[in-house]
């Protein structure tokens, strides 16, 4: 399980820095470092097995039927990348501890960093490509947070957005490509896909999949023409640039190309697309880097150029070239991360990164200069450093590759290498050499070892790999390249390839050319500045602005914020889709034999529809409209009754009563009339839309009712199991409290939340002075003489215990006969509401010994307990049990745990209904409603 743990650790540990920051910045950095170190130790423990050629696997089945499993594996390539991510990660954590200012929120930074680290490890260790895609997008998101870390800088926010748009967009394309690939291979497991080379390359879908996957890789690794986001991402704090934009995230695209190399490479399409993109990127970015004044911009374009170099090598499609690519990945990570950190130190000390304002730092910052010297000479490819070794090998490969003509590739690679020499030397010469100046924004000197330790260690690696490549790096290159190419690799790295190796002469030409370029810099710079060139940022901004305009046009055309337009368009669109489907298919009239028409049903139907149809006509008088609505709703209850649904009839009846009471209360705070506002044409249009909707839904209902179900209803199971399985004869109730208890559990929670929302809304309204003053000046309604008529008060008090008896009876019989917790809760609620209505809110509330919130809480708690109780018997949540009990002199009766669950439902429904209505009543108290202290009105009460 090691690979899974390695990936999980940074995610689990991400909370630590956020907590540890309370104990200071050192504790925060230590906590972060401990997480990375632990993951690194796990990796090192697994390393010997990988070096022996084994593949360490971990598998957690999630949705095997869909091919969604969390599978991880660690092979040579994964080992190389995970080592880079964790090793350089540790150095970055050390560096960032001393780099970030006191005012920067460090806990946040390290949390983001660990999230990114976890996502990155997920990419390189995932065996399942769908999982890989998830981690891929996670790196885009976490890098967005890191790039935009300095939220006060507009460049930071814009850079973060651009990076997210480009890499996220590429990631979307890659998802499509990966799905195609998985489809061809018949599996989403990389280990299986990697064995399907013939099938994949013979497929008609090979080219689309290739292009889509390369889009993801090219955007992530900033390959031409998607290279422009990386320099803008340099607005990030330097530790982020060093970590994400040189060593890890930008290499994710490279990693993917290396990972897919065994199945995708080797075709002419692969060769042309990948090696051309790499070559163009390498040469073009190297040229731009030469003319950049900002240290980080120079390094950013240099990174783009080196990524192009690696991409080009992978594009060649030969094993030798892929091996060189792997070697260069290691070398580039070491010297470039060191250089970024050096640039950060310069920025930190001199308060500028502008080469035009620097120079002469050699004597002021000798340690920093030493590190920069080694790393940039390696970047330039000067022997004996490690950059030289991989560049020689690259030139050798390029010299033997035929691209358009036998010599074009070699020539262009040499030109790229020449520019690389030129910008490396410019970095040194304009930054560190020359006379000491007296106009630095801040007098620089070497920082403490906390800042330079990390880059110094990397510089030491640069030298070590350079001097003894076979000892320090070859073994890692062997296993990683072996994993890329799928065949054992035993690389020979040496400094001297003989006088007849073309690489020697190309290298010499590059160094000479580079020095010549640097010598001619002032004149070349004038030429560069004089010639207009396309700028990526304005183009990108224009494209984004255009897309945003298009989206806004579409969205606002469909939905202008007006509710009516949205409803009209939705109804018309749904009706059109339904009509289109209806006309497109063949269908016969329904053959189901209908029920004979019943006089009672016709009568109910007629009254209900008269009431319903009167509402649109009379709706301006809101009280009338409300009464008519209530009539319609109440008449649905007998329909349910007649069509064999007694439970529904009971529920509909009681809910309708409560709803109408609620609306009557609410109407107190709303105008009693609806004015005529819409013109006649609009009312006509609305009527038309309404008729279309009615015809559609009615037609659908007719079609459904005149046909049998396409499949046998699953409720045959519920009917058969109701008695033996759940111990009840009321199948509807057993479904609610037993078979689908989980649904009901969710529903009572929703109901409880709705009531709490209502309470919170009322609370917020009562806190607003504008609302309370408006309420205080509320126009008093015409009062009838009796506010609390004695007859009503007496009657409701007599009714209360009887209503409760009925409620208890309904609750108890629910399992076997129509009834249950829902209806019982509503009956109780109505009995209480009658007290409120008759005796007033205050009188009733003062005599009520429980809180509505508490009722809801108890309801949820009791139903949870009923569910958890099943665990005691080793059964899953909400499994019910029942037993028949004989207790003299009673008849045999049944005790079921479902009844406890139903009690929870009952309490929740009662609490929710009472809380909703009580919240409305509390508003009424503010309108100057008088509080009755006595039981009912007497002569003294005004």
């Amino acid at each position: 399980m090691t690979p899974a743990f390695i990936v999980a650790l940074p995610f689990l540990g991400a909370i630590l820095p956020a907590l540890a920051i309370r104990f200071g910045r050192n504790a925060c950095a230590l906590a972060t470092g401990a997480v990375s170190l632990l993951a690194l130790i796990l990796l090192i423990q697994a390393a010997p097995a990988v070096l022996r050629g084994e593949v360490v696997q971990a598998r957690i089945d999630w949705l095997p039927a869909l091919g969604l499993n969390a599978t991880f594996f660690l092979d040579g390539l994964g080992l190389l990348f995970a080592g880079l991510i964790l090793g350089i990660g540790l150095l970055i954590i050390l560096y960032a501890r001393f780099y970030l200012a006191k005012s920067d929120p460090m806990g946040q930074f390290f949390t983001y960093l660990l999230l990114f680290q976890g996502a990155m490890l997920g990419i390189v260790l995932s065996d399942n490509i769908l999982l890989l895609l998830v981690f891929w997008e996670l790196t885009s998101l976490s890098s967005f947070l890191l790039i935009g870390y300095w939220k006060h800088l507009p460049e930071g926010r814009q850079g973060a957005r651009m990076a997210l748009a480009v890499t996220g967009g590429g990631g979307l394309a890659m998802i499509a490509g990966m799905l195609i690939l998985g489809n061809i291979a018949g599996s989403y497991d990389l280990t299986v896909i990697l064995t399907q080379k013939e099938a994949i390359q013979a497929s008609d879908w090979y080219l689309p999949a290739l292009i889509l996957i390369l889009l993801g890789a090219f955007t992530k690794s900033a390959q031409f023409p998607f290279h422009f986001w990386l320099p803008h991402a340099m607005a990030a704090p330097t530790p982020v640039s060093a970590y994400l934009h040189s060593a890890t995230m930008v290499k994710a695209g490279i990693f993917l190309m290396a990972r897919m190399w065994p199945v995708l490479a080797g075709t002419p399409e692969w060769f042309w697309i990948v090696s051309t993109a790499g070559l163009v990127t390498m040469v073009m970015a190297a040229k731009i880097a030469f003319f950049k004044d900002d240290l980080k911009a120079l390094l950013a374009f240099s990174t783009v150029s080196h990524l192009g170099l690696i991409t080009m090598l992978l594009g060649f499609g030969t094993k030798a070239a892929a091996t060189v690519a792997v070697f260069h990945i290691i070398n580039h990570a070491t010297f470039k991360a060191a250089l970024f950190m050096t640039a950060g130190i310069v920025d930190h000390e001199a308060h500028t990164r502008d080469l035009r304002r620097l120079g002469g730092l050699r004597t002021l910052m000798p340690v920093t200069f030493g590190i920069a010297l080694l790393a940039s000479l390696s970047m330039a490819g000067i022997p004996p450093l490690n950059g030289f070794l991989s560049k020689e090998l690259m030139l050798e490969e390029a010299a033997h590759t035929v691209w358009l003509t036998p010599w074009a590739m070699g020539l262009l690679a040499t030109i790229g290498a020449g520019f690389s020499v030129a910008y490396s030397f410019r970095f040194l010469a304009h930054g560190f050499l020359g006379p000491v100046r007296d106009d630095y924004p801040h007098r620089p000197h070497d920082p403490g070892p906390g800042l330079w330790a990390a880059p110094a260690l990397l510089a030491a690696l640069v030298v070590a790999i350079g001097l003894a490549p076979m000892l320090t790096a070859a073994w890692l290159v062997d296993v990683a390249a072996g994993a890329v190419t799928g065949a054992p690799v035993a690389v020979k790295i040496s400094h001297w390839h003989g006088l007849y190796a073309p690489a020697l002469w190309m290298s010499l030409a590059a160094v000479g050319g580079g020095l010549a370029l640097l010598g001619a810099y002032p004149r070349l710079r004038a030429l560069w500045d004089g010639v207009p060139r396309p700028e990526a940022k304005p183009m990108f901004d224009a494209v984004v602005a255009g897309l945003a305009r298009l989206a806004r046009g579409g969205a606002e055309g469909l939905h202008d914020g007006g509710f009516g337009r949205a409803v009209v368009l939705a109804v018309l669109a749904i009706a059109a889709a339904g009509l289109w489907a209806f006309l497109g298919g063949t269908h016969a009239a329904g053959t189901r034999v209908g029920l004979p028409t019943d006089a009672v049903v016709v009568a109910v139907w007629a009254v209900m529809l008269v009431a319903a149809l009167a509402v649109p006509i009379l709706h301006r008088n809101r009280v009338v409209a409300l009464i008519l609505t209530g009539v319609t709703g109440l008449l649905i209850a007998p329909l349910f009754m007649l069509f064999s649904a007694p439970d529904l009839a009971l529920t509909q009846l009681s809910v309708e009563v409560v709803t109408i009471l609620l609306m009557l209360l609410a109407l107190h705070f709303l105008p009693k009339e609806t004015p005529v506002e819409s013109p006649a044409w609009r009312r006509l249009r609305d009527a038309g839309v309404a008729v279309i909707a009615g015809l559609g839904v009615g037609g659908l209902a007719w079609a459904m009712l005149t046909r049998e179900a396409a499949f046998a209803p699953i409720s045959a199971f519920h009917l058969a199991q109701s008695k033996p399985g759940a111990g009840g004869t009321n199948a509807v109730n057993t479904i609610i409290v037993d078979f689908r208890g989980y649904d009901t559990f969710g529903e009572i929670i929703v109901l409880g939340i709705a009531a709490l929302v209502i309470f919170a809304l009322a609370e917020a309204l009562l806190r607003s002075p504008a609302v309370t003053s408006r309420l205080a000046a509320w126009p008093r309604a015409r009062e009838s003489g009796d506010r609390h008529p004695m007859m009503l008060v007496v009657a409701t008090r007599l009714l209360l215990p009887m209503a409760m008896m009925v409620g208890v009876y309904i609750y108890l019989r629910g399992h076997n006969l129509p009834g249950g917790g829902f209806v019982a809760g509503l009956v109780f609620a109505i009995a209480y509401l009658m007290q409120y209505m008759a005796s007033g809110y205050d009188w009733t509330h003062a005599r009520q010994r429980f809180d509505h919130h508490v009722l809801i809480g108890w309801g949820v708690l009791v139903s949870i307990l009923a569910g958890v109780g099943a665990w005691a018997f080793g059964l899953p949540f909400l499994t019910s049990g029942f037993e028949y009990v004989n207790l003299w002199p009673l008849e045999e009766f049944e005790l079921a745990t479902a009844a406890i669950f139903d009690l929870g439902v009952f309490l929740c429904v009662l609490g929710a209904v009472l809380l909703a209505l009580a919240s409305l009543s509390r508003l009424a108290l503010r309108t100057g409603e008088q509080i009755n202290r006595r039981a009912y009105d007497t002569e003294e009460t005004p």
Binding site: G561, G562, G594, L595, P596, T597, D598, L609, A612, V615, R622, A625, T629, L639, F643, S644, P646, L648, T651, V655, T659, L662, M663, A666, F669, L670, D686, A690, V691, G696, V697, G698, L700, W702, L705, T706, P713, S715, L719, K723, T729, A731, N733, I735, I736, R740, D743, L751, A754, A755, I758, L761, L765, R767, V771, L817, P818, F822, V909, L920
Partner: protein
């Protein structure tokens, strides 16, 4: 009988849609109530119509489909919660804005910023 139920569902839907297209909160909420009636009836009807066959075991020869009934039962109760929440929102809107129009025009939007609950608290 099927025609009666189907036509009732259609008419309830039409009334509901017409009312939701009004410009004030109260009729819109009434409209949604009508739509709830229609939807609940529709769902119930998906179990097909039957008389004298309530799904109480041992009380009749045949049983109607209990599953849509169970689903509709909870739907009825939930729709009460939904109506209540919307009513409260409508009241809040009316108390804060001084009118109960559902679509804000530009004037309301600027005025609303000044005397929202945040500004008052």
């Amino acid at each position: 009988m099927e025609a009666l139920v189907a036509s009732a569902i259609g008419i309830l839907t039409a009334v509901g849609i017409y009312l939701t297209l009004r410009l004030r909160t109260f009729p819109v909420i009434l409209g949604l109530t009508f739509l709830s009636y229609a939807v609940n009836l529709f769902l119930f009807a998906s179990g097909r119509l039957a008389v004298n066959s309530a799904p109480i075991l041992g009380r009749s020869e045949t049983y109607s489909d209990p599953l849509p009934q169970a689903l509709v039962l909870t739907a009825i109760v939930i729709s009460f919660g939904m109506t209540a929440v919307m009513m409260m929102m409508a009241i809040g809107g009316h108390l804060q804005a001084g009118h109960d129009r559902i679509d804000l025009d530009a004037r309301d939007e600027t005025a609303g910023r000044g005397e929202g609950p945040e500004a008052g608290a």
